[in-house]
């Protein structure tokens, strides 16, 4: 069944350029694990190291406790799905899936049975004798998955498999991938630059930047507790503020942010009065209203500079009295029962719970 991967202090250079910087990861048996990062961060290289297409200068890669670095790609019990799917254009869907089985000299009846099962798994029975050029993007991807599963690998590696598809299909196939993962039960390692993909289906996510692992955690942890500015800005939208600590309380800091004013934020990192910090505040955690709210303490007045209506929510850019432009997302939950819709140039109050604004970096200590 699923394999367990340990990546231990891997360093890799292309010439003088270091693509992987002391990367260490534990991927658990049967996990849907995503490696997320901007293009050029080394995530695809890391995947190709696991697949056996790239060697490393330092470190080790273990599969179920044994090093696989000395094994060539064709001897590793892992299979990869390429961004371009890499189906063999000269072979039918059936023969594409049968390719690894024919290499292993399976008998004709075994091949028929196994390919049949896989075609059933991806619901492509009626397309078995088409050529790749006759398939849609989504179908090609399903065939690539079936072909990669034919060898019964312990780990399936997926290199941005959805990036060539349009947004709607991407959502559908993502759910399909998730279902497939539940069915076959092997470890999936999924590389993507799309944070929505990564956080929506993964058990855990590793965030990478500039050849380094920035943060590893569940999607919830990655979104709600980013470890630094990069993590906070790469995943989702946020309001970043440079603030000075005025007072240290038991649970909160009283801080002053240029363009905003004085407010309280959650004390999740050690700092002293006079320190400069960077705070993050997610736009959907901020309330926006025409009336001044009675409950919250972090309340600021401003004017709506920009509104972007998106159906399920509206994105507002509010210019606070002191000048800071704050992103605020308001969900439209109840038609008519919601407060009246706010518009451009409306005067509004924004407010948030001190627990929702927290420190991502301490600049001076």
């Amino acid at each position: 069944m699923g394999g367990e991967i340990s990546i231990l202090n891997v360093n890799k250079f292309f010439g003088d350029f270091q693509v992987l910087k002391n990367v260490s990861l534990e991927i658990r048996k049967g996990e849907f694990f995503s490696i997320l990062g901007p293009s050029g961060c080394g995530k695809t290289t890391l995947l190709r190291v696991i697949a056996g297409f790239e060697d490393v200068q330092e470190g080790d890669v273990l599969l179920d406790g044994e090093s696989i670095l000395h094994l060539p790609a064709n001897k590793r019990p892992v299979n990869i799905i390429f961004q371009s799917y890499a189906l063999f254009p000269h072979l039918t869907v059936f023969e594409n899936i049968a390719f690894p089985l024919r290499l292993k000299k399976f008998t004709e009846s075994e091949i028929k049975e196994r390919v049949g099962n896989l075609l059933n798994l991806i619901r492509m029975e009626e397309h078995a004798f088409k050529y790749p050029s006759q398939l849609s993007g989504g179908q090609k991807q399903r065939v690539a998955i079936a072909r990669a599963l034919a060898n019964e690998p312990r780990v399936l590696l997926l290199d941005e498999p959805l990036s060539a598809l349009d947004a709607k299909l991407r959502q559908e196939l993502l759910i399909e991938l998730d279902n497939l993962h539940d069915k076959v039960g092997i470890t999936f390692v999924y590389v993507t630059h799309d944070q929505t993909e990564a956080i929506s289906v993964s058990d855990r996510v590793a965030l990478m930047n500039d050849g380094k692992i920035i943060q590893i955690g569940t999607p919830y942890e990655i979104y709600e507790s980013p470890v630094n500015v990069f993590a906070a800005t790469f995943i989702g939208e946020t309001n970043l503020m440079k603030v000075d600590v005025l007072e240290v309380e038991e649970e909160y800091y009283v801080v002053e942010a240029p363009g905003v004013g004085v407010f309280r934020c959650y004390k999740d990192k050690e700092a002293k009065a006079g320190n400069r910090l960077i705070l993050t505040l997610r736009p959907e955690k901020i309330r926006i209203s025409k009336q001044k709210p009675m409950i919250f303490e972090n309340v600021f007045h401003g004017i709506i500079e920009e509104e972007i209506y998106m159906g399920y929510q509206t994105k507002y850019f509010v210019r606070l009295d002191e000048g800071y432009i704050m992103k605020v997302y308001k969900q439209h939950v109840r038609y008519l029962l919601d407060e009246p819709i706010l518009h451009w140039k409306d005067e509004v109050y924004v407010s948030w719970d001190p627990n929702d604004s927290f420190i991502v970096e301490v600049l001076t200590s």
Binding site: F53, I80, L87, F88, H90, N151
Partner: protein, 264 residues
């Protein structure tokens, strides 16, 4: 569409008209010192059966040369298509064309001759000189040398179009390097193989200068006989009939291969 007229004219003047003249002459009577008499005759074609052995020899020399050329061209084309210096390597492939082909054939005589470079080298070690020239081996060697670029170029261009990731996918799915080459690369460069075959086999079948200069009596090809009929015997209709036979033989060969490819 704008250029169709130009294209048709070009084809007409440079291809159809000369070909028609050859076909026409083959059905006429020869004039004694060259040229034709304007009376219809099938006599030229009645001579052809006596050249059967010559035709067979031309076909196997051309066939063996073509296969050797393709075998040599495949790895070269693959290497160039994966190299970071494609343009420079392609330049090297076509550099021989800067020298006239006759001079290059003469160069082979200098290399292979009884008193040539190789034999002088052998002589230095007290070895008996070897007769390299004037046999089918020499003809095949020089044909392979001459037409190698014509095979490398189309193979290169179809290999360059092959998505690198399908080769990696094959490797990932358990294929070794030989299996990747045979089961994935070759089937995907079929078009290039076919063009390379046509570009090499047809001119090789009609070789004239090469067997004339490095071949012996046992390695004359049909091209030499056509030239002899035209220039020495001065029987233009027979030379024309033999040219037509050459066209038919190569056409049949190509059609057979194309049909086999389609059937697959």
């Amino acid at each position: 569409m704008k250029y169709t007229a130009v294209y048709v004219l070009w084809l007409l003047v440079l291809f159809l008209v000369p070909l028609s003249i050859v076909v026409l002459f083959s059905f006429l009577e020869p004039r004694v010192h060259g040229g034709v008499l304007w009376s219809f005759s099938l006599r030229s074609y009645s001579y052809l059966p006596q050249y059967l052995r010559l035709i067979w020899r031309s076909a196997w020399i051309a066939g063996v040369s073509t296969i050797l050329t393709l075998v040599l061209a495949l790895p070269v084309a693959f290497y160039i298509s994966k190299s970071g210096h494609k343009n420079f390597l392609l330049l090297l492939v076509v550099v021989p064309f800067w020298t006239n082909s006759l001079i290059r054939i003469y160069a082979w005589r200098v290399i292979l001759g009884n008193n040539g470079v190789i034999n002088q080298f052998l002589n230095r070690f007290g070895l008996e000189p070897v007769q390299f020239l004037y046999n089918p081996f020499a003809v095949i060697l020089v044909i392979v040398y001459t037409y190698l670029p014509f095979a490398i170029l189309p193979l290169f261009s179809s290999m360059e179009k092959v998505d690198e990731s399908i080769l990696e996918a094959a490797l990932d799915l358990g294929a070794n390097k030989r299996e990747v080459f045979v089961k994935v690369l070759l089937p995907n460069v079929k078009a290039g193989l076919l063009s390379a075959f046509v570009f090499v086999f047809i001119p090789a079948l009609g070789s004239y200068a090469i067997p004339d200069l490095v071949g012996g009596l046992n390695s004359k090809m049909i091209g030499n006989e056509i030239a002899r009929q035209l220039l020495i015997v001065k029987n233009w209709p027979v030379a024309s009939a033999m040219s037509n036979l050459l066209i038919v033989v190569s056409l049949v060969g190509i059609l057979l291969i194309m049909r086999r490819e389609k059937m697959k």
